[in-house]
Amino acid sequence: MFRRMRFIAPLFVLSVLLSSCFEIIEDVTVKKDGTGTMKLTVNFSQSKTKIGAMMLMDSIRGFKVPGRNEIEDQVEQAAARLKTVKGISNVSHTIDFTNFIASVNFSFRNVSDVNNMVKELLDEYNVKTKIPFAYRYDREGAKFAREYTPSADARAEFNKLAEKDKEIFRSAAYIGILRFENTISSFSNKGAKMSKNQLAIMQRLPLADLVSGKADISNQIQLSR
């Protein structure tokens, strides 16, 4: 209905002026043999009024606002590209334009396939930055590691942002969950929290801290054999 009533758009500009927030959830399950699944979710539901308003406009502060079809096409393309990556299978995705939530699921043969996938995607989109994270899994030693190196480029880009745009990242949350078949004996990151059943680890922090390098999500996890 509102799409047809474009003259109402100025009204929504008001709500766009106000700050918005969103969350990113990275949910990884690693089996004993090193295979696993990954689910990435971006949830803009808290800002749905603003996103809905933004999507009524052609551009905001000089940035072109993509239409629903354009977003769907892009996600379709990215999912299709994922399917071609070696070791990646069962790719599926969902986009909820009511709540503005998008998620991608896939299986991997080995955690190194995920590392390669990230590298390939970054190369393809011509992102010339060092890969900020990598997974390692030592099947024999039952050790899992997430190595995270804050990217100087990303930090520099973040610092260049206007204060108002930085605020968006500050109010956004990153949630990382790692799940295993074996119980966790120990883990190195003090910011992370273990589930009561000792099979999962979760870390929650403001996205801005991750981008700016203030927070660390590296973790060395020893699993029981």
């Binding site: 100025p10 008001l14 106000l18 709540n99 939530i101 204060e163 108002k164 969950i177 589930s195 979760m202």
Partner: protein
């Protein structure tokens, strides 16, 4: 582009004395667009010393000091005449398009100092100092009277014409940056043209007068006619050696570089010629002062004015004529020249704009604009708490009749018969009178309030045992606007049927004669609709709609608002102060206090449009200057300063 913006910025800070001769006569008669700045008014509103100390002034002087390797503390040190008019113009010819900036001087020696580090490159011709900058396609020249800066770019398609290529040499090799291949020349040249046009289009002004490819058209002024068959022998510009490039492979970077130098030198050579013409031009020679459209735009009370030749010619210069006509370039046929004026005084900043129409278009627009806003709307305006409004009043019936004609005109070059047919078909198919009864063509949109409401959103609930998560609906407080929309309808039956359909589908609820659409995931507002006294009301506030229904709504329309709404076909009003008072500071993040202060200190803004006189339609934008501010210019400078602090 950056250079053009710098030129425009520079013109904004300069101008001509009442005593000195006004330099408008220097502007070519066929200029495509002209900007005039009345510096005396500018510096009366904001004396030079105050400007020097403003954020904008400091930045300007800082940049200038950096460029000239000097230490400028005041704009007065530049030798510019700050009490005379300065001009910017843009001229398009078939061979070269150029921007010109005319700035009157009081002290030419200060200009010598400004360009001291280029002293070796400055030529002195008949009392004129000329600095050529081939790399930047710019010529800067001055005498005791004025400083003239010009920047230009060649038109590719001029050189793709075989007669011109023969006259000016093998232009395919000299001109074209990217290819030696004759076949490729046209395409590449076209691409270059587009690039140039894009660059131009960013700078407000636009290209010129007639179809560029039609060389015989009696349009193009001096530069083209005066073009020499080759460069003058005494020219310092690079001498052409067209033959040297022949047969050289495209990959040969050296040859490419050579071509670039040649192109730059041709540009500089022509710019220098036009520069000399400007300096030699007497006040009795034909100039822009012969153009009635330009004279209409000039107003002594305006601080700045802008004039542009008719819009269709803007389009025609974007593309070579044959492409322009082939691809339906008639879209803007019938729209004439455009002008705008900026006024600043103690109480207001005002910008007015006009666009000329031919007789046919003027008649069509007169019929469409022949409609007034329903006066019954005024009862429902609460003037004291209003954040903003927007109104429009057009004659739906006339619009339905005239639109096919307007569209037909746009495509008549290629599809005259087809468009006439489509136009008749629309007329037969649609019952204009019946449509005009349902939607008369006037509407008023009021932004009445900002209110905190509970809205739902989806998040996740994590199981502490496993960290598995499931979807959960949470609520949060969000500030959303309240609004009221009204439009007139003499025959709301169709609207009622639509609403009844919505009820049957379970999307709309009818209670006490008020139709309501509940807030949903897709729609953050509860919408309420009422049809009463030939008006359809839609609002996010049930209280307002209920009061309208039972007649207890107490409006108090402002006299000024009433006048604006009555006299114009389109009106927009925005009160930053009212918005600032209603918006919760915590919603604005860290800069909340500053934003609220900025909004609180800003004056009201109005935009109006009405059918103009003499075949023009007009647009007017006004911003009130808050009482505590001395005048409009200082208010504007303060706003710039406050905005800078927000970052």
């Amino acid at each position: 582009m950056k250079r053009i913006l710098q030129l425009v910025a520079l013109v904004s800070f300069t101008s001509s004395a009442a005593t000195a001769q006004d330099l408008a006569y220097k502007i070519p008669e066929k200029a495509f667009s002209v900007v005039s700045i009345k510096s005396n008014q500018l510096f009366q509103l904001c004396p030079a010393n105050e400007f020097n100390n403003s954020t904008l002034g400091k930045k300007f002087l800082e940049k200038l000091s950096e460029t000239a390797n000097e230490n400028y503390k005041s704009i007065e040190e530049l030798g510019l005449n700050l009490s005379a008019n300065a001009y910017y113009y843009y001229q398009v010819t078939d061979s070269i398009n150029h921007h010109g900036l005319i700035i009157p001087l009081t002290d030419a020696s200060k200009i010598n100092a400004l360009f001291r580090k280029h002293a070796d490159s400055i030529q002195h011709i008949n009392g004129i100092s000329v600095l050529q900058r081939p790399d930047q396609k710019t010529v800067i020249a001055w005498n005791n009277q004025m400083l003239y800066l010009t920047y230009g770019s060649l038109n590719s398609y001029f050189f793709s014409d075989s007669a011109h290529a023969a006259k000016y040499g093998s232009i395919g090799t000299v001109y074209d940056d990217y290819s030696y291949n004759d076949v490729a020349v046209d395409t590449v040249a076209a691409a270059t043209v587009e690039e140039e046009v894009l660059a131009d289009s960013v700078v407000v002004e636009a290209p010129v007068v007639e179809a560029p490819v039609v060389v015989e058209a009696p349009v193009v002024e001096a530069p083209v006619e005066a073009l020499p068959p080759a460069l003058p022998e005494d020219s310092t510009a690079v001498v052409f050696d067209y033959g040297a490039d022949e047969g050289v492979p495209a990959e040969d970077l050296q040859a490419r570089e050579e071509r670039k130098r040649n192109r730059d030198s041709l540009t500089i050579s022509w710019l220098t010629l036009s520069t000399q013409e400007i300096f030699n031009k007497s006040s009795s020679a034909p100039s822009i002062l012969n153009n009635p459209g330009y004279l209409r735009s000039a107003d002594n009370n305006a601080i700045a004015s802008f004039w542009m030749a008719d819009i269709q010619s803007v389009y025609s210069t974007f593309f070579p004529y044959k492409y322009f006509m082939k691809y339906g370039g008639n879209f803007l046929r019938g729209y004439g020249n455009v002008n705008a004026r900026l006024y600043m005084d103690k109480e207001k900043i005002r910008m007015t704009g006009e666009m000329g129409l031919n007789a046919e278009k003027a008649a069509s627009f007169a019929k469409i604009y022949d409609h007034k806003l329903n006066k019954k709307f005024f009862k429902y305006i609460k003037g004291d708490s209003l954040i903003g409004f927007m109104s429009y009043a057009f004659n739906t019936e006339a619009y339905m009749y005239e639109m096919p004609k307007l569209m037909g005109g746009a495509y008549s070059y290629r599809y005259e018969e087809e468009m006439a047919l489509v136009s008749d078909l629309i007329t037969v198919m649609l019952d204009e009178k019946a449509i005009a009864k349902v939607i008369k063509g006037d509407a008023l949109f009021l932004l009445t309030n900002l209110r905190e409401r509970q809205v739902t959103y989806q998040s996740y609930e994590y199981n502490e045992e496993t960290f598995e998560y499931k979807d959960t609906v949470k609520t949060k407080t969000e500030t959303l606007p309240d609004f009221l929309i009204m439009f007139s309808s003499d025959d709301p039956q169709l609207i009622e049927r639509l609403l009844q359909y919505g009820i049957r589908k379970g999307k709309i609820v009818l209670g006490n004669g008020i139709y309501s659409i509940e807030q949903s995931r897709k729609n953050p507002f509860n919408l309420h609709l009422l049809i009463k006294d030939g008006i359809v009301f839609i609002s996010s506030s049930l209280q307002d709609i209920t009061q309208i229904q039972d007649g207890s709504f107490k409006g108090n329309v402002d006299k000024q608002h009433k006048e604006l709404l009555t006299q114009n076909n389109f009106t927009m009003f925005f009160s930053p102060k009212s918005l600032g008072a209603k918006i919760p500071v915590r919603e604005l993040g860290e800069a909340g206090d500053k934003i609220t202060k900025l909004l609180g200190g800003a004056g009201n803004v109005y935009i109006t449009s009405a059918a103009g006189k003499d075949g023009y339609i007009s647009m007017d934008m006004t911003a009130d200057v808050p009482k505590e501010k001395e005048n409009a210019l200082k208010y504007f400078l303060d706003l710039v300063e406050d905005m800078a602090h927000l970052k």
